[in-house]
Symmetry: D3
Subunit: 138 residues, 6 copies
């Protein structure tokens, strides 16, 4: 049960329906998941968030599956149950199989461990790594 | 300046040197970054962490570049400066260009935004998404 | 079901009852929510936490509604379901309407996105902003 | 030193300049802070993020100062040094005085404490609070 | 219901059974908790994680109970419900009583508060404390 | 450089001096670290926070060293540089040696890894563990 309400298509105004229609068209599906129904309580947030997600998740220098995997990695790190589920679902629909899922989890777990070791030991950043990270050194 | 000391190769015992040698051989490089020098204060942690990282980051169902991108995504979300730098460097060495870096950041930023919207609105998980996420529905 | 037990008024000792009485008197209500019943397992923590919350949330330079909104912002960022619910309730009782709730969520979401962009890109702080933040420059 | 580069106005293309111009016009100032110069590496992210921030932070049901305070609360909770500084500066320019700053910090600190107590004790949400939070009960 | 499946002993292959046997033998118990059954979907992750946990949680310079308390402190801070429960259970089996549990929660809550005050006020680290933390000064 | 100012003893009013005196007396030392000097900007927060820390960190069911270790574990997980340093220093002064420090870091790292695996896989809590955690089953 959400904070507030889920707005169904039939109860939505024209502005919300336009976004719902675009979500379904973009995703080639005939339903809208709860995330968007909750945001529809505030049509401005619904439109802005959907436009941003559509732009960010479109194919570009990174392919859509890689983007979904990144989304899952962030969602697991933040412990967002809704987001883990919805983006794992998205990744599966874009081709993630079980082996990929398990390696994703292994990387996320390991990254969380070494992040704490690096911060805990207050390890100074190597100048060489900084230069490589900035693209100044090959 | 780290908590404790950075152990240099020339000051290291045989157990630490063996790990340092394996790091350099695996990475086809002739130096070791500060992270491992700090862990070398505790050879057991050094060995265990390196063995885990080596296994987790090896090519598998996900390619090494994708794994580095996931590592950066987690490190940005956790705000680990050392890890952002070292894994951005690692990603660059494995082929990430500027366009990929910027899309990575865009996804990480957006995921952190929608994570909070989903949690903040306490949005219930759609049963259909759960089934897809579990691989029960195509 | 909590870790441990919820202590009801009728099962509580004098020290706990005194705090419960003060909670109800301060809030002009006749019931105590589960948070305090759980803390009542450790009367020292109950008293110390209540005294702090009472002091911190009292009207001052910031009004009580603004303080509740800040509490919700932190709770959403930390993903604390209990706290999101209880402080959203508190904010509503102090006058937050739906429009305010949705703008609150929008700010929290956006802040979480730009926090990651700032950390991810390791953007150096502008000296001018530091001076303004410290109140040295108008 | 950021990951990548800061794009100065004189080195920017027309698309970036248009956003920089809008930032300065909206804020009635003649300079652009580093956050936007870093995002300018990816004009699409720059434009999208600025449009979102402009919309979200505009006066609405919540006044601009309250929105800045919320931004600081999130940034402190996420430990984003850049964001703490820039939004504390923003809050000061919108009227936050020292007393308000200190109360803000006190609320953020207390919220982080009670968030952990609520999660740590796994305290069940009171049904009454849920109803109030949803706006079903006054 | 987990992402994926829980692998029961009778459905497991030899590699998974060997780990399950070692878990039960090490813990002197005749059952395996769900965490390991979920990891068993990826035998490599199961084995690596168990070997690491077994090594890290073994008695050493810190006793096993202290290690469990530390595990709970991290899990509360990260809001991991499974981990709070399983390591609180582990701590109880190693001797934690109610008084210890409540003091643990009080420390975790307080640390989360002062962490935010320190970061929020951007307090510079005292040089003397750095020297003591590094073990350079007694 | 902090947000705001550090209040030195000689510039402090009577209320702040009284807290500073109590800090030095309680800790049997003749100086006050920057954390308290920053909080002294708001005497109410200074007094409240010090009273809480003094109560929470006093010997009780957990000894003072264990409490410092827990504080470090939380601070590493939250990535609070000031707090990692000050409480590592505190732990050293209470008897933590290098071996204990390294085991502490190893537990914190591992807990952060398995926290993410548990949340990522959305592993259901075992009923038996819940009962043990609540102290209902031995």
């Amino acid at each position: 049960m959400p904070l507030g309400r889920l707005i169904e298509y039939e109860d939505a105004g024209a502005e919300v329906r336009a976004v719902f229609d675009d979500i379904m068209a973009t995703r080639k599906t005939d339903w809208v998941n709860n995330f968007w129904k909750a945001l529809a309580q505030h049509p401005e947030t619904l439109r802005r968030t959907w436009e941003s997600v559509k732009q960010v998740m479109a194919p570009g220098a990174l392919d859509p599956l890689t983007k979904e995997l990144l989304y899952v990695a962030v969602s697991v790190t933040n412990n967002c149950d809704y987001c883990i589920t919805s983006h794992t679902a998205g990744a599966r629909l874009k081709g993630m199989d079980d082996a990929m899922l398990h390696e994703l989890m292994a990387v996320v777990g390991m990254a969380n461990e070494t992040n704490r070791l690096a911060n805990g030991y207050q390890i100074p950043v190597d100048e060489h790594l900084r230069a490589v990270a900035r693209g100044e050194v090959g």
